[in-house]
């Protein structure tokens, strides 16, 4: 249960792996005895002494494992620990660094590449938004202090949401958000949509509050894409 313990005391872990991007599609992590959690099989190279350990159920213990199985938000994760540098990449996806200072990052498990060992991951219910994206009703949360790397199809644009500037996002282009943000589901479905003359942007997620939203310059196929 090592990883769980590490997650419980994020502030007592003095060693923090440093994340840096090498190009935009490769993540390099410098480690000195500390650990990171990364998507299974995403290591492309390493330098120094590294140990790779598969973590069943996302390294969240029995409860997390069961939750993930139940919610369908599965994530195969490995723990990488050692001294040296480890490089990660996944299908030439663009990688974006996110630094967390006690706030929570919401990201689809398929878009999460690597998190600092000190960050807690979990699952959360997203409701209709998840359904509209075709990603299921649940999403992954990352919480604590440290860095995480998320993947996108094309470099992500980071958009700030503030009380005076709410943001609407196409469900297919949304990848992640962080901070204190409320999201609601916006539907522009009218009788015209039914008539086949819809605006093509029938569903949007509206973000209000204070935080950041990560949007990729590409749209996944969603049921909303055609109406």
């Amino acid at each position: 249960m090592g990883p769980v313990r590490a997650g419980l005391y994020p502030d007592t872990v003095p060693l923090v792996a440093t994340f840096r991007l090498q190009g935009s599609k490769v993540l390099a992590v410098d480690m000195s005895g500390d650990a990171v959690k990364a998507k299974n099989g995403s290591m492309v190279a390493y330098d120094g002494q590294m140990a790779f350990k598969k973590m069943t159920g996302g390294g969240e213990g029995i409860r997390g494992m069961v939750t993930r199985r139940l919610t369908g938000e599965q994530m195969t994760v490995m723990e990488v620990k050692g001294h040296g540098t480890c490089w990660f990449a996944d299908r030439a996806s663009e990688i974006n660094l996110v630094s967390l200072q006690g706030d929570k990052l919401y990201v689809e498990s398929s878009n999460l590449l690597c998190t600092d060992g000190g960050l807690r991951t979990g699952t959360s219910f997203t409701g209709l938004r998840g359904a509209s994206q075709g990603n299921g009703l649940f999403t992954t949360t990352v919480e604590g202090h440290g860095q995480a790397a998320i993947m996108s199809d094309g470099p992500a644009v980071v958009l700030r949401v503030s009380p005076q500037y709410p943001l609407s996002v196409d469900p297919g282009a949304y990848i992640a958000h962080q901070g204190n943000v409320r999201q609601s589901f916006q539907s522009g479905v009218t009788f015209r949509t039914v008539m086949g003359e819809g605006g093509g942007e029938a569903f949007q997620i509206r973000f209000e509050g204070d935080g950041l939203v990560y949007v990729q310059p590409s749209e996944r196929n969603t049921i909303a894409g055609d109406v």
């Binding site: 470099p155 644009v157 943001l167 609407s168 196409d170 297919g172 901070g179 749209e219 055609d226």
Partner: protein, 268 residues
Amino acid sequence: MSAYGAPGPVIHDPMTLPSDDNVNAYTFCVELKGSQWFLQKGKMIAYYGSIDFNGIGHGRLDRLVRTSFHSPLHASDWVVAEGQGKMLLADRAFDVNSYDLENGNLTIRSGNLLAFQPTLALKQSIVPGFLTLIGTGKFVAASNGPVVFMEPPIRVDPQALVGWADCPSPCHHYDHGYMTGLMGGLRALTGVGGASGEEHQFEFVGAGTVLLQSTETLMADQATGAVPHEAGVPGGHGVSGHQGQHGQQPGVPRLPGQLGDLQRRFGL
């Protein structure tokens, strides 16, 4: 707000987003101030402010459609965005770029056009699979890799062609010298013995500009709408895309080494 970490990526808000310019190579930001833009369905990825998206069939927009849309059968693929705010456009992580036309014209492959101002008129080109924009205004186009501008006379690879502006005359060009005789025909048909795959090009002559993308991977075609079934109308038999009536079934991919319909000339 340094809470979100300085080393991270650039964080945009409505103040820092550019107006009618690229955010990065793959994302374009349009500022709407009560004005309108035409965009292809599903290319909006996010917006600030209050923007309405309406299908072209929307009653109030009829007049707009009459003035700037001239391929009615194609209209259902387009959306009018109107309102106040800033809107981000992107297309499957392809490069996007904006172009200004001043009382000019530009013909573009249908799959590449993303959005345009209603001050431009969109028409079907006589060349099947292409659209022509006429007038003054800005439009946004996607390409597989950055776009290169070339001056005619030039011969280009068919897959790399994005479009052309002003009036160079586009025509086919075959390297006959290499591909004549029985052996040449065999080479062309089978690819055995040295078909380079570059024996067929598009040739442009005249004054104007030719736009090329930097890869030979085509972007998926958008339907440009059918043309009237009339004698003398290219593609008038409902065939869009290539010149395609002879030899080749429409929609069947061309085999490597198979040249245009050149092999017919050798009786093969």
